[in-house]
Symmetry: C2
Subunit: 200 residues, 2 copies
């Protein structure tokens, strides 16, 4: 990188920190940006600044939001008796994009994964219990991914929720095993939502 101007070297170094970008793809991307119109780089810089300043976590559902509580938690037309538990914000977004769900959410922040060091302590379980206790929830829909991690997480959640006297259901038929919820089409997701079943 020695022959590049310092600002370009710095940009390559920052891009190379991003997941999925090695030093060579970071170099290619930086050169693409630097050789293109300056406005393109400025627009990306501005978007980053604004996201850095304006995106936070909703204190109720732990989803991403620009105000607290988030528009979904704050929407009086949403059914407060239904709570859908998802692994992350991308899954919440996929559920919303599928349409058909009119309850609220809780973002768990991951799934059990002993291989990656994620145990029950790493998930936001206390917040979930608090959420269920405090807001008239009658049914908790477990929408963790249909993977072994997601299934294990659903079983853990069912145990945690058992003493609270709420109905616990699991997204059901329609999800192909091993898939990632964020990439499933809306129709399949909607079917899975309809055919949710009680977890024993």
């Amino acid at each position: 990188m020695a022959a590049y101007p310092k600002a370009l070297q710095a940009l390559i170094a920052e891009l190379a920190r991003l997941p999925g970008l090695g030093p060579k793809s970071a170099e290619r991307l930086a050169l693409y940006l630097v050789r293109g119109p300056v406005q393109r780089m400025r627009a990306l810089a501005r978007a980053l600044e604004q996201a850095a300043g304006g995106v936070r976590v909703c204190s109720l559902c732990r989803g991403l939001t620009d105000r607290d509580p988030c528009p979904i938690c704050d929407d009086p037309r949403r059914d407060p008796r239904l709570l859908c538990v998802v692994e992350g914000p991308a899954e919440l977004n996929a559920m919303e994009a599928a349409g058909g769900y009119r309850g609220r959410y809780y973002v768990l922040g991951g799934a059990l994964s002993p291989a990656q060091g994620v145990g029950p302590q790493q998930l936001e379980l206390e917040g979930l219990v608090r959420r269920v206790r405090s807001s008239g929830v009658r049914e908790v829909i477990l929408a963790t991914n249909p993977t072994s991690e997601g299934e294990a997480t659903a079983h853990l959640l069912a145990e945690v929720l058992a003493p609270l006297g709420v109905t616990v259901t699991r997204l059901g038929y329609g999800l192909p095993v091993g898939a990632d919820l964020k990439y499933v089409d809306g129709l399949t997701l909607a079917r899975a939502l309809e055919s949710r079943r009680r977890l024993d």
Copy 2:
């Protein structure tokens, strides 16, 4: 994307414009950034701003630089009689990283590629002729890539340079055919530089 805060939607849209990033990878990258420390996003934004403000094209060699002329063109220890023509800034950087070359450069801005609509008009040929005429160049080393586009470009350059009375050589043995100059190891590049040959 409807369930994401506006600033996050905007960031996803900006990232999705980058080459090699589809909407899903842009979403993944934006979520990674937004869920990480705010400083990481700010650092990337700052690097983009500084590159947007500080990186320009050298008026002599057309390489990327933060001052004009660039440090290589401006370096009195560089041999003014040797001029190495490369396709782009990444190739210039690879030559410098290989070491062993003590002349100057000219960045052509691409290679002939009828398929991509790059003809002689799209290359900075006039600048090259001006550069060779005005600065005591004795030998022009054609370091375009060892691909069919790069070879065609080298032949075009040899024709363009013929009337100027300079020796024209081509990077030679050591470059595996079909490779991309930016990914060749330094040793191979150094060998190719040593074994450059006159183009007839």
